[in-house]
């Protein structure tokens, strides 16, 4: 029996990531029998507010991958302008290709079939360090980030501490 192309592609990426992991995150499967649901642990990037934290997120790939993007959701509580309060990540490269409903993004900024788990995660990690407050998913966080940064920092520090406790090793 032959696996669909998406599964083969994901399996290849997983094997490569296990052998040569990329700095800043570690990727595996939520369930070893389901190649479409990934579990990723993002190591809080150094020199950012999120340093020291361990943020768990899930990636849900569609069968149409790589033609359509996966969805990404933070399981660990995190306070960030571009991550909504449910943990869903709002980042342009994960937006469906084609017409942009809101007219914000160029086609080149949205999903492209060349993206892999690695490129997605690298984008997300850089987003942690450098939020984009033009299209916030968490309006409160974005407002705080802009207007009362100390409070924003405090909330992030709380998340970091909490993530350390939940992910105690």
């Amino acid at each position: 029996m032959s696996e669909p192309q998406s599964a083969l592609l994901l399996r290849k990426q997983l094997a490569e990531l296990n052998k040569n992991p990329v700095e800043g995150f570690s990727a595996g499967l939520i369930d070893d029998n389901d190649i479409y649901r990934w579990e990723v642990l993002i190591i809080g990037p150094p020199d950012t507010l999120y340093e020291g934290g361990f943020f768990k997120c899930h990636l849900y790939f569609p069968k149409e991958y790589p033609l359509r993007p996966p969805k990404m959701k933070f399981v660990t509580e995190i306070w960030h302008p571009n991550i909504d309060k449910n943990g869903d990540v709002c980042i342009s490269i994960l937006h469906e290709p084609g017409d942009d409903k809101f007219g914000y993004e160029k086609a080149s900024e949205r999903w492209l079939p060349v993206h892999t788990v690695e490129t997605i995660l690298i984008s997300v990690i850089s987003m942690l360090a450098d939020p984009n407050d033009e299209s916030p998913a968490n309006v409160d966080a974005a407002k705080e980030w802009r207007e009362s940064y100390p409070e924003f920092k405090r909330k992030v520090a709380r998340c970091v501490r909490k993530s350390q406790e939940q992910e105690e090793c």
């Binding site: 052998k19 570690s26 595996g28 020291g52 768990k56 920092k153 405090r154 970091v160």
Partner: protein, 587 residues
């Protein structure tokens, strides 16, 4: 990685020892194996199958795999037993990364690998790579360079309110739990962190802490704390909840309990978590309350000139840590920091510790009562009274007194009576009488006014001699010496039973006598009494003697006849004042 020498773990050696000798010879080819990438499954056997098969009957062969461990900076390879326990694995790799096993945090396939697991649980096979995060050392003073002391005075609680955690992290101290932060703060702010702990363990402090009202008063008086409360309304809210406050103090006192709560997900914690908002409340409590409170408290302890006493005599007095942290202010001296004349008499009361101590004592007699009646205090006092040497050593070690040898000498001779006096019920009654304390406060303010308004008067009345032999010129130039001498000698002078009070040993009564005498003799009798005695009246009014003055004015007599003898004066308030001062001198 080809050059990497395989490191043997302890358990590995044990298993090898139990194997047959052939296994040792087999180890050679094995050691070089890791460099060759093996795309093999776990069940695949080694090249030496036949040899192994012979020994397999007795003990199943241990399969070796090579795993790589990657940190942001380096990548190391280790040849280990395929079923090695993670805890052992951490111990094995820790030296390579110059870290303690507890600091290591291994991550594989999106999961943090726990100590109890082994490599197989996570399906970590030959040639795979794990992430390694090295966390900050649990004790900063051992493994990380000491940071310069935080300037708590300038930015009191930025540490807590402005994301101080992230700040610490960015300094490379990536904190992982609250105990670390606490330790770090203590080691920064105090040269001796145990001091704080021992203070917190002191039964007296515990008693204080168990009374939420007292705690509240103490905390709210602290200007830094007030500042904090302004910024975080939730804190003032919490302070209004005595039960919560009590729990917080309990936690602050019991580091192991704190650690337990912060580190382990035990039943208690999960219970708390299951309460809606309980988890958040706990966290808020740690960060917003305990942390700033510790820093506030630590700062005060570290500035306490009497803290040296504790190391030598184990006198752990709550008062000395929490409020009276400065040398006794000198109401008589012309201090260099004179306030503007428009705010007369604010110098002494402006002195925050003094003012707040006085205020607290007057408003909160039960606190003093508690303190005095505590068996601990009593035993300390008794010990001091019984053993003059002990008292001497206290005196000798007191940094305040060492600067003034003659004062020290004087205090030494006066110590026994002083202690006696301190234990007398009379004294304790005074301390618990709010009105008496109020009176003392008024007198003190009044003396300050007097000092500012009529410094010449003070000079005039300054006693010509002092038992220690300090001559008048030094008195005028070194204010602290004068006042300290005055207070200490006054303290003993008021002890009626004291047999060896020197005639001139009571400068204050002498001062009063002179004042009265001066008023009687040196003024122009032709003027009406109000004018004649105006200056003195003002001074007395400022000293809090409002009623006597009204009375005096009404009858039109001289002050000297109103205060017929210095003894009356003493009897009424001065004794109280001096005793109070002497009390302060001890603490």
């Amino acid at each position: 990685m080809a050059d990497d020498v395989p490191v043997d773990s302890g358990p590995e050696k044990v298993t090898e020892a139990s194997q047959k000798p052939e296994d040792d010879s087999k180890k050679e080819p094995d050691a070089q194996a890791p460099t060759i990438p093996e795309n093999q499954t776990q069940s695949e056997s080694k090249p030496q199958t036949s040899e192994e098969g012979a020994s397999a009957a007795a003990a199943p062969p241990k399969k070796k795999i090579t795993v790589h461990v990657k940190t942001p900076k380096e990548k190391e390879s280790f040849e280990v037993d395929a079923e090695i326990n993670i805890k052992d694995f951490k111990e094995l790799i820790a030296p390579k990364f110059n870290a303690e096993p507890e600091q290591l945090c291994l991550i594989f396939a999106g999961k943090i690998i726990k100590d109890a697991d082994n490599l197989q649980t996570h399906n970590i096979k030959d040639g795979l790579t794990m992430h390694l995060v090295i966390r900050a050392a649990p004790r900063s003073n051992e493994n990380t360079p000491q940071r310069p002391p935080a300037d708590i005075g300038a930015t009191p609680f930025n540490l807590g309110s402005l994301g101080g955690l992230a700040g610490l992290d960015s300094l490379g101290l990536g904190s992982t739990n609250f105990m670390e932060i606490q330790n770090r703060m203590q080691s920064e702010l105090l040269s001796n962190p145990d001091l704080l702990r021992s203070l917190l363990d002191n039964p007296l402090v515990q008693r204080l802490m168990n009374d939420p009202e007292n705690m509240r008063a103490l905390i709210t008086r602290n200007p830094q704390m007030q500042d904090l409360m302004e910024r975080n309304p939730e804190i003032s809210h919490m302070l209004n909840n005595p039960e919560l406050l009590r729990q917080t103090m309990e936690l602050a006192r019991n580091p192991s309990m704190l650690q337990e709560l912060m580190r382990s997900h035990d039943r208690a914690m999960s219970n708390l978590e299951s309460i809606p908002g309980g988890y958040n409340a706990l966290h808020r409590m740690y960060r917003d309350i305990q942390e700033p409170m510790l820093s506030a408290a630590s700062e005060q302890f570290s500035q306490n000139p009497f803290s040296g006493l504790m190391d030598n005599t184990q006198i752990n007095n709550p008062q000395q840590g929490t409020e009276n942290r400065e040398p006794l202010p000198n109401p008589w001296s012309r201090s260099s920091t004179n306030p503007s004349p428009t705010t007369p008499g604010r110098n002494v009361v402006n002195n925050p510790p003094m003012a707040s101590l006085l205020q607290q004592m007057s408003e909160n007699p039960s606190m003093i009562q508690n303190m005095l009646s505590a068996p601990y205090t009593r035993s300390v006092l008794e010990a001091l009274a019984a053993d003059p040497n002990m008292a001497n050593s206290v005196l000798a070690d007191n940094p305040l007194l060492t600067r003034y040898p003659q004062l020290q000498e004087q205090m030494r001779t006066m110590m026994p009576q002083f202690l006696q006096q301190l234990q007398s019920p009379e004294m304790q009654n005074l301390m618990t009488n709010p009105q008496a304390l109020n009176a003392i406060m008024q007198i003190q303010q009044g003396m300050e006014t007097l000092r500012q308004q009529a410094p010449s008067l003070i000079n005039t009345f300054a006693p010509p001699t002092i038992p220690t032999g300090t001559n008048p010129t030094t008195q005028n130039t070194t204010g602290t010496t004068t006042s300290s001498t005055t207070t200490s000698s006054g303290a003993t002078g008021s002890t009626t039973s004291a047999p060896n009070v020197t005639p001139g040993g009571d400068p204050f009564s002498e001062f009063m006598a002179r004042m009265v005498a001066g008023m009687g003799a040196g003024t122009d009798q032709s003027l009406p009494p109000e004018q004649r005695y105006q200056q003195q009246l003002e001074q007395l009014a400022a000293m809090g003697f409002l009623n006597p003055i009204e009375k005096l004015l009404a009858v039109g007599t001289g002050i000297e006849s109103g205060i017929s003898s210095p003894e009356d004066f003493h009897g009424a308030t001065i004794v109280l004042y001096r005793r109070f001062i002497s009390f302060l001198v001890l603490y």
